[in-house]
Amino acid sequence: MPLDVYLNVAISGLLTGLVYGLMALGLSCIFGVVRIVNFAHGEMMTAAMYIAVVLFQAFGLDPLIAMVPIAAVLFVFGYALQRGVINSFVTRPESTQFLLMIAIAIIIVNALLITFGPDARGVQTSYAYDSYALGPLIVDATKLYAAVAAILVAAALFGFFRFTLTGTAIRACADNHTGALVVGLDVRHLYALTFGLGAACVGAAGSMLVLLVDVTPALGPAYTLLAFIIVITGGLGSMGGALVGGVLIGLTEAIAGLVFTPSAKSMFSFAILVLVLLFRPVGILGRTAR
Amino acid sequence: MTLLSIKGVSKRFRGLTAVDRVDLDVASGEIWGVIGPNGAGKTTLFNMIAGQLSPDAGSIELAGRSIHGLSPDVICRLGIGRTFQLVRPFRGLSVEDNVIVGSLLRHAKVGDARERAHELLRRVDLYAKRGQIAASLTLPDRKRLEVARALATGPKLLLLDEVMAGLRPTEADRMVAALRELNRDTGMTIVLIEHVMRAVMALANQILVLHHGAAIARGRPETVVRLPAVIESYLGTDALA
């Protein structure tokens, strides 16, 4: 196959990977700070995708614009969930927390199934078939815009954590829970805020992804797994790692889909996951000590 | 006969030297007390003997056989039983079952293991509470349980890590009496880390003093506690009163 086919596929994978990275970023935030393994992550994103579809079909609202209200809605959901339910679980064994999120995931997915049915729904924007030509490369407009949006949101998040007072406070909680309590930080609120932000990331990622992929309820578990693969590969708790992981997985899937059959592409992602879990569980950019 | 032989054992954690070239020879039947200020490296030393940590340098031999770098369960099977500084009973299991887990190491049949467990529970005065769930026990009882569980594994050497901490004087005296009896009846070799000096003085025939990871003194209790270095680093002049 000619080189530019590979390159095009690679670029496509890279751009999609950035959106995956944003989704995984949310998961990384949540785990890095609140230390909850959010098994409902993909399901939350699927819900966001459906909201985007509904808004588009009802109001003609472009998903990239709808991204803002959707992220807000998911922020509120995440905040409420953490504050209301998950907070009381912080002291329970890990497996119980995991199961809690599994229960929530099951409910979300099937509620979506009941509401929307199993058939795929998509969004057809005016620029859906546009593309840009950069020499021999052809880049889909939708993928480009989605990727740019993902980078912007990620940058905003980085900036928040790095430069704002609240962001620093959150990092303090992650670093030393007891210490944070001792200096008077409202840890419960900050945890809820973080979960909310993670959920908002997922919401934003969902509105971007709906430009690239049609949504069905079955995507929920699939994306949860994908998010975990990305986050573990890139480094659980490392925000940069989530993006790196996302791009890596996006690329791998794209190339694997080209070289082998498209349906087998996730096998490679799983293979990477197994290898990382065995040989470098902290991930590419993960920190070893805690 | 030397049961435990530790030569030049060291452990470093990045920049910090937790244990610095410590030597120790424990003869069979002896009771050694290991004392020193917090952070002196006592528990780290225990962790290396019992296998939770591996020494960076030096050798550790049990009855002439090197146990350097072996895993904790292998070392336990070879004959070293230990208790933890922060007790770790099997919380969801009953007192009896906790000890049975230990005695199953030496008894293949559950029935035999249970009988042995009962014997040991009687020895540490927990027989009456054998049906209680471990999580519901008071701290002194949990300590006794952990000793019983360690004993159930049929050790030649017992490592006790601050087993008196948190006990009231009367409870500590009872524990001391039980340990002394154990040593007298079975010849059990004991090494204990302790801060409660009255227990150390009552039990130990030899004392090792650690400070900043290094052994600064060793010998008979009466002698060691009068050494200026020991008084300065750990005991304080009031302790001699």
Partner: protein
């Protein structure tokens, strides 16, 4: 027998015997549909018990148990379809296959110290691997599905497991009883004690001389091997296998909800859980149908809600709560 009934109170033995009698007699009064529901309940109870060995006893969370079901189902199904080999003989091949898969996963996991949530994710990864892999496996017809030849006559053939639902009912009932007895025997044995110790505190267990690697692996292997029967049953009961369905993660999750709701680590937890869940879900679908709704996904929402409820309110599960109420517990766990 003494060992098995030790520390079960008089009351519970009587109740158990009564329950068994009822279960044996049920097909006489139930219609075909009700029997299929009962078969499902017992199937979930069986598989739940097998899973419970790993999780409830040894504390190892497996979210990819469908792997063991699927491997056994496909192997025994294939042997029957292509060579006419009886499922009972197929079982003899399926058990080692599933057990080996378990051995491989546990070796990799424990050798490389993969624990807790990471272990669970690893088990998911392997099941997904199998799902996608089998989709492309020509010998089992990939995503096209493997179909077992169905007998024309309605006679019961126990050897080939061809027959009416009632036959399958008694087979799975027998299996569930055997699994219960096996669990009980394991729990009271040396290995059972070691598993509980590992579940409670792995480090303390090692300090008490337990070779945790060995016994954790044993838990996984035994659990996988016991699960194999469920796979064989599945193949011969449904007569069609699709990788997408058999290895699906929702299968894996479905089979753990029963034991969790019923009570992890207890003997009757999985059985109680299976009855409760399936009973409730039948009630739900029945009510919805009566109201004129047909909502795919409603059952699952129910399952998720029950799971949520139990986790929030009755973390130990329904059975321990019930047992205390009915004053049935003479047992230590």
């Amino acid at each position: 027998m003494r060992a098995l009934t030790r520390d079960l109170s008089r009351r519970s033995i009587v109740l158990l015997a009564a329950l068994l009698a009822v279960l044996l007699a049920l097909p006489l009064v139930a219609n075909d549909y009700q029997i299929t529901v009962l078969v499902l309940i017992l199937y979930l109870a069986y598989v739940g018990q097998a899973w419970n060995i790993m999780m409830g006893f040894a504390g190892l969370l497996s979210l990819g148990h469908a792997l063991y079901v699927g491997l056994a189902a496909y192997l025994s199904g294939l042997l029957f379809k292509d060579y006419g080999i009886s499922p009972w003989l197929g079982l003899l091949a399926a058990i080692p296959l599933s057990a080996s898969a378990g051995a491989m996963i546990s070796f990799l996991a424990f050798r490389f110290r993969v624990t807790g949530v990471y272990f669970a994710i690893l088990t998911i990864a392997f099941a997904e691997f199998a799902r996608i892999g089998f989709d492309h496996l020509a010998i089992v017809n990939g995503s096209g599905g493997l179909f077992l030849p169905v007998a024309q006559n309605p006679r019961s053939d126990l050897w080939l497991l061809r027959g009416p639902p009632t036959m399958f009912y008694y087979v799975i009932l027998a299996a569930t009883v055997v699994a219960a007895l096996l669990s009980r025997a394991l729990l009271g044995s040396r290995i059972g004690y070691f598993w509980l110790a590992i579940r409670e505190d792995e480090q303390a267990a090692r300090a008490t001389g337990i070779d945790t690697f060995r016994y954790k692996t044993a838990a996984v292997v035994i659990s996988a091997g016991v699960t194999a029967f469920a796979g064989v049953f599945y193949a011969f009961y449904y007569n069609n296998l699709f990788p997408e369905q058999v290895f699906n993660i929702s299968r894996s999750i479905e089979l753990i909800i029963g034991p969790i709701i019923g009570g992890l680590g207890t003997l009757f937890g999985p059985v109680v859980g299976a009855f409760l869940l399936t009973g409730l879900s039948e009630l739900l679908t029945g009510t919805l149908a009566a109201l004129g709704f047909d909502l795919p996904g409603a059952r699952q929402v129910l399952y998720g809600s029950c799971l949520l409820l139990v986790i929030l309110v009755l973390p130990g599960g329904v059975w321990p709560f019930l047992a205390r109420r009915l004053r049935l517990d003479g047992g230590r766990r």
